[in-house]
């Protein structure tokens, strides 16, 4: 069937369009020397990888990971009840709540970070993980709530009512009914929350003066040393892919 062939070639083209550019990162990270006209590197080597796994970069990686995990955990814990109220349409005028939640997404994150620094300096929280967590949290929370609210609604309420009439305790209901029912959306919200924090540049630069996150130390290398930049980019991509895998697994829900 010509249609299948067309479809397949469109798929291959699309895949190439996204995969090829990123594949070059791998080649560049392992190319110790790759001078101008050559299409293939002259020398392969581990210089970039060694630099990417050196002290500063690994510290930044750890900082990024700690901040992203803490921020995502808080955002899901705080966002869950809010998403439930909004998702079940229990508010008479939800507009105001959405406007409040949307504001941090409209204002440049660098501005938020910059303004926050004023306070963090006074509270002695400058250059601390707490400061970074606060700065990221206002950006992550709206995304988590907006994604998570689509999981709640009559579908979940009906299941919970059935469980109640069968005599399940609140904890059992949550564990065996609510959680499995919202698992795919919860996974998506968690994944998105992690990514927003992990990729955040503006507020990380403004707040984390002495405690640098991975994107902040990566950027200067783009001009000065593309090999190290590529190696750091691979390091930067790894948890995003791992989180995608985890989210995809968690999304397979029995209910």
């Amino acid at each position: 069937m010509p249609d299948t062939r067309l479809r397949r070639s469109a798929g291959v083209l699309l895949a190439a369009f996204f995969a090829l550019p990123l594949a070059v990162l791998v080649v560049r990270a392992f190319a110790d020397s790759w001078r101008a006209p050559a299409l293939v590197p002259q020398h392969f080597g581990l210089r970039g990888i060694r630099e990417a796994f050196s002290g500063i970069a690994l510290d930044a990686f750890a900082n990024s990971l700690v901040v992203a995990v803490i921020v995502t955990a808080i955002a899901v814990a705080v966002g869950w009840p809010a998403a439930r109220v909004l998702g079940e349409r229990r508010l008479r005028r939800p507009g105001a709540v959405f406007v409040v939640l949307a504001m941090p997404l409209l204002v440049p994150s660098y501005a938020t970070g910059n303004g926050l620094t004023e306070w963090l300096l006074r509270l002695n929280l400058a250059d601390s993980i707490t400061g970074l967590v606060l700065a990221h949290l206002v950006l992550v929370l709206p995304y988590v709530i907006v994604v998570l609210l689509s999981a709640f609604g009559p579908r979940v309420t009906v299941l919970e009512d059935m469980a109640r009439s069968l005599g399940l305790t609140p904890l059992q209901r949550w564990r065996w009914v609510t959680l499995p029912a919202v698992a795919p959306t919860l996974a998506a919200a968690t994944f998105l929350g992690f990514l927003v924090s992990w990729s955040e540049y503006g507020s990380s630069l403004a707040v984390g003066g002495g405690r640098e996150l991975l994107p902040v130390i990566l950027l200067p290398f783009v001009r000065s040393d593309p090999q190290i930049a590529s190696a750091l980019a691979l390091l930067f991509l790894a948890p995003a892919i791992a989180a995608l895998g985890l989210a995809a697994r968690a999304a397979r829900s029995p209910l």
């Binding site: 990123l22 109220v85 409040v100 440049p108 660098y110 709206p142 709530i145 990729s199 503006g202």
Partner: protein, 304 residues
């Protein structure tokens, strides 16, 4: 009485005497539920209002109290005045707004085309198209430098590029990176909006003799306009405020507003912070104004 509230739909009324009791009980239940709803929303709203509101106040405070001013002088509008007297800042406004508008229009156009193409296709192709969504912006920018910079791979393969794409003064590189990154995000929103109902409605319109162009205008467009405008606002606001992409693939002049602010803090320790805060607050005002315009546009004049 608010009939939309689920707790009010529940009570049954067996007799006239019980009806009064039942109504009171129902009201009490609604009140309890409302209180519980407020408690559930409170932590999230408190975090956003305190941290974000505090940040805005902090920026406002910084913008009117430059470190160069003596403590006794109090608030001054010097930074704001200096900002609007700086031709580089005015260039920066024009450049940033142009980038945001062009990027948003290009990405929404591409997304609409791709979504229309993909909606009848299988899930594998859809998954492929959404691949760039989890890739950080900075990574796409790094990749763009490797491919498109002078001496980059595209240059080597083609033996020369017809025009400068990275760090060019028109910001073409910035637009390309953003379009590559934001189109799949908008496609996801559009495909979600184009659920099953749309195909049926289109078929009905076709049976009634609507041409493809008419179906696009009167069936598809009203369905996707809402999500598309929301997505466009998010994209536009991001382009206005983010600066890892322009820093990587943008020109040295003009700068985007966020770059301008960041450079101000590096140029002058005394007045820089204050100037940066003012520039960033002004960017925030532009972003909110554009969002309000977009929301106006999203409202259907026919009320559909």
């Amino acid at each position: 009485m608010d009939t939309r509230h689920p707790a009010l739909a529940a009570p049954t009324t067996p007799g006239p005497a019980a009806a009064v009791v039942g109504r009171d009980a129902a009201r009490a239940r609604v009140r309890r539920q409302r209180r519980r709803d407020r408690v559930a929303l409170a932590p999230a709203l408190a975090i956003v209002v305190t941290v974000f509101g505090g940040a805005l106040l902090g920026a406002l405070h910084a913008s009117v109290t430059p470190l160069s001013a003596t403590a006794s002088a109090g608030a001054t509008l010097d930074s704001w005045r200096a900002l609007f007297a700086d031709p580089a800042f005015l260039d920066s406004i024009a450049f940033t707004v142009k980038l945001a508008v062009v990027t948003t229009l290009a990405a929404t156009g591409c997304a609409l085309a791709v979504a229309l193409m993909l909606r009848s296709r299988g899930t594998a192709l859809r998954a492929l198209a959404s691949l760039p969504v989890p890739v950080p912006h900075l990574l796409v920018a790094v990749t763009a430098v490797l491919w498109l910079a002078p001496g980059g791979l595209a240059d080597r393969i083609l033996g020369g590029l017809p025009l400068e794409l990275v760090r060019d003064r028109y910001g073409i590189g910035i637009v390309l990176v953003y379009v590559y990154k934001e189109t799949p995000f908008l496609v996801l929103l559009l495909l979600a909006a184009m659920g099953r109902g749309l195909a049926e409605r289109e078929e009905a319109a076709a049976v009634l003799g609507a041409s493809p162009a008419q179906r696009l205008r009167w069936v598809v467009w009203p369905t996707v306009r809402g999500p598309l405008v929301i997505g466009a606002i998010v994209v536009c606001a991001f382009v206005l405020g983010a600066f890892e992409v322009p820093l990587t693939v943008g020109p040295n002049y003009p700068l985007t507003l966020a770059e301008y602010a960041s450079q101000a803090t590096q140029n002058d320790v005394l007045t820089g912070e204050s100037l940066a805060a003012a520039a960033l607050l002004f960017t925030a005002v532009i972003a909110i104004a554009l969002a309000v315009i977009a929301v106006r546009f999203a409202k259907d004049p026919q009320g559909a």
